[in-house]
């Protein structure tokens, strides 16, 4: 596990973490404590999940669901290629943005000062161990989360992850990470110039998510029925996103931000809900759009798509009898992420269940009155998950296919009496991320067998054009397009490290300065020599300013770190 990369699969809604080993951390998770060192990576993957569950994310998923069903039926309406191509193309175009947002959550996101909170932070907050330093004066949980995040980000392993972003090639076909992250940081600078509240990382991430991923205009574009010019679809989608990136700053003003926060908080019942029923089942969901749109084209097209993609009656066709339940499970489990799955030896005691990390050391002994008989010994599949919308943490224990024990799930059932069918669907050993990622691969094969590998084709066709729309976001200070692109083209590896003359120490200092500037609390002691850090910041600013059009690390006259664009 330590050798793999963590990932999130939009198709199967699965997430595989490498931040920690579930078996070793099982004891903590059973009492709902997330190891603080895992917080940044959890926020990264939660942000991906948040985007998968947006209107844009759902439109992509349902396009693929429909393509899978029609591929299995022999493509009767001749639109498998079109649906799959659109879904793959928009995912490819959005990839730098998606990774940029996730990296922002990983390195920069902290609880902010506005009342509305982003989903990733909401989901993490209950899991941070709460300690009382002074029994007479309990401290708010949010302060604890801020401190845990700062502590996690100051670890050398995390600082290395941040510094590595300066070594990412700034071309999307090589890597979406550096380009995407710098774009997000540039959008924050642009937005904060018009409304300083956007320096609040939590508010900013919510605005970005609402602006790009809860965009009915993009949904309408994605689902447009213009099959005569299907070859032009990638260009249309590229141009649309390019316009959105260019227009972001213009859309920011104080009133728009206030209205957005009010809608998210829903004090006046203004929070938009998208209502959709298929076969008598309710598939409604909240939409936290940044700009409210009176145009209904996107909504009506998504409704029609969901009727096709989630139709239960299709199961009557023998060719879909396995596919339809799989898709329904994926859809039902989309609002949660699994933190890990492990096979754990267990023993049923008279009033408890003992779970063993290894043969010698018990991981946990839980009160238990479930279906396993006293004296039972065996291996249970244990899955820990976060249900994002309800900020709930659950641990499920399966003996084969049967759910035989849980932590938190029974309480969740009591809290959500109207969601029993949905909760029944997700109490499934397929939640185990080791299984779910296999499901994603199998679903992709259904389409590939019909129309070939679309992902490779779309990357070849539009790879280089994606760079220019993203680079325009951090060319805004130059005053003319192409300035950043022309600099990057001259660099041997297209990385910021090239501009720093391959000086790894400078990259390390830039990363540390950036992490410190993002934190709303200060460290009592600098992790490095302050004089050396200041000297390096001066050099970094001088060497990177030509690319950004301004010194990217802002320092006050008293040497306080204010902001970093890297």
């Amino acid at each position: 596990m330590a050798n793999d990369r963590s990932f999130a699969d939009p198709l199967s809604s699965s997430v595989l973490f490498t931040a920690y080993d579930l078996k070793r951390g099982l004891g903590d998770l059973l009492v709902q404590r997330l190891p603080y060192i895992a917080l940044p990576q959890v926020l990264h993957e939660l942000t991906h999940q948040w985007c998968f569950n947006s209107v844009v994310g759902r439109a992509i998923t349902y396009l693929l669901f429909r393509a899978q069903r029609e591929a299995a039926l022999g493509d009767p309406k001749k639109r498998v290629w079109r649906d799959a191509n659109r879904a793959e193309t928009i995912q490819h175009i959005l990839l730098p943005l998606a990774e940029g947002m996730a990296l922002f959550a990983e390195h920069d996101l902290y609880p902010g000062s506005v009342e509305s909170t982003s989903r990733p932070l909401l989901a993490c907050a209950p899991l941070v161990h709460f300690t009382l330093s002074d029994p007479q004066k309990p401290r708010p949980k949010w302060d604890n989360l801020t401190e845990k995040l700062l502590a996690a980000r100051m670890r050398s392993a995390h600082r290395d992850r941040k510094a590595s972003l300066l070594l990412e090639p700034l071309t999307s076909h090589a890597s979406p990470y550096g380009l995407g992250y710098l774009t997000i940081k540039a959008l924050q600078v642009q937005g904060a110039q018009r409304e300083q509240r956007l320096l609040d990382s939590d508010l900013f991430l919510q605005v970005i998510h609402g602006y790009f991923y809860e965009d009915w205009g993009l949904v309408a574009k994605l689902l447009a029925e213009d099959s005569a010019n299907e070859d032009d679809a990638p260009q249309h989608l590229l141009r649309y996103l390019g316009t959105r990136l260019d227009r972001f700053a213009q859309s920011i003003d104080s009133r728009a931000i206030d209205a957005f926060i009010d809608r998210c908080l829903n004090h006046s019942k203004q929070r938009p809900i998208f209502e959709c029923e298929v076969n008598g089942l309710d598939y409604s969901f909240w939409v936290d759009e940044f700009e409210t749109s009176p145009v209904n084209e996107g909504r009506s097209k998504l409704t029609a798509l969901m009727q096709d993609a989630l139709d239960l009656l299709a199961i009557n066709d023998g060719r879909l009898e396995n596919l339809v339940p799989t898709q329904l499970f994926i859809n039902a489990s989309a609002p949660l992420i699994t933190l890990g799955g492990a096979d754990v030896v267990a023993r049923r005691l008279p009033h408890h269940l003992m779970l063993m990390m290894n043969d010698a050391v018990p991981s946990a002994i839980l009160p238990y009155s479930g279906m396993l008989p006293v004296g039972w010994e065996g291996t249970l599949r244990v899955v820990a998950a976060l249900i994002i919308e309800h900020a709930s943490h659950i641990v499920l224990m399966f003996d084969g296919e049967k759910l035989v024990g849980n932590v938190g799930f029974d309480a969740l059932r009591k809290r959500l009496p109207d969601h029993q069918n949905h909760l029944d669907l997700i109490a499934n050993p397929m939640l185990d991320p080791r299984e779910r990622s296999e499901v994603g691969s199998l679903l992709r094969e259904v389409i590939q067998e019909r129309v070939g590998d679309i992902s490779v084709r779309c990357q070849d066709e539009i790879g280089y054009e994606i760079d220019s729309i993203y680079l325009s976001a951090f060319e805004f200070m130059h005053g003319h397009r192409g300035a950043a692109a022309s600099i990057i083209a001259t660099l041997p590896r297209h990385t910021l490290l090239d501009l720093l003359n391959n000086n790894v120490e400078l990259a390390e200092s830039a990363a540390l300065a950036s992490l410190l500037s993002a934190s709303p609390v200060m460290l009592s002691r600098s992790p490095t020599d302050p004089a050396k850090l200041n000297e390096h910041i001066t050099i970094v600013n001088r060497q990177l300013a030509p690319l950004f059009g301004f010194p990217p690390i802002a320092v006050s006259q008293t040497n306080d770190l204010l902001y970093s664009a890297v």
């Binding site: 330590a2 050798n3 793999d4 990369r5 963590s6 990932f7 999130a8 699969d9 939009p10 198709l11 490498t18 990576q41 990264h44 991906h48 995912q91 990839l95 998606a98 990774e99 996730a102 990296l103 050398s156 392993a157 290395d160 992850r161 510094a163 590595s164 972003l165 070594l167 990412e168 890597s175 990470y177 990622s437 994603g440 691969s441 992709r444 992902s455 490290l497 391959n502 790894v504 990259a507 390390e508």
Partner: protein, 111 residues
């Protein structure tokens, strides 16, 4: 026979790889992502021969900030057999850290 044995460890970042730039006897392999997934930035697996074990030791020393550690490596033997090995190192008062880490890695393998 010693030269045919290799040792691997994964999870190296780009900056780890940059620090290894001048190390010989070291191969870096990029960790891949399953198709269609959104993953964390690229990480690498470092593969070293016995001759370059000091490079692996230096990496582990830095990774764990000079403190006692337990980490996992993969040993590929000359016959192709792959062994997952847990390396446990504690600081020694008498021996230099890198050489004692090399010994911990080698375990019972002859050099």
């Amino acid at each position: 026979m010693g030269d045919d044995v290799t040792f691997e460890i994964g999870g190296l970042t780009r900056i780890d790889a940059a620090r290894l730039r001048d190390g010989s006897g070291v191969t870096l392999r990029e960790a891949s992502l399953p198709q269609g997934t959104y993953g964390e930035p690229v990480t690498f697996t470092m593969v070293v021969t016995v001759a370059a074990l000091s490079t692996l030791a230096a990496y582990l020393l830095r990774k764990h900030q000079g403190e006692e550690f337990v980490d996992e490596i993969t040993v590929t033997h000359p016959d192709g057999r792959r062994e997952h090995r847990r390396v446990h190192w504690t600081k020694s008062a008498v021996e230099a850290p890198e050489s004692s880490i090399v010994k911990a890695i080698m375990g019972s393998l002859p050099i």
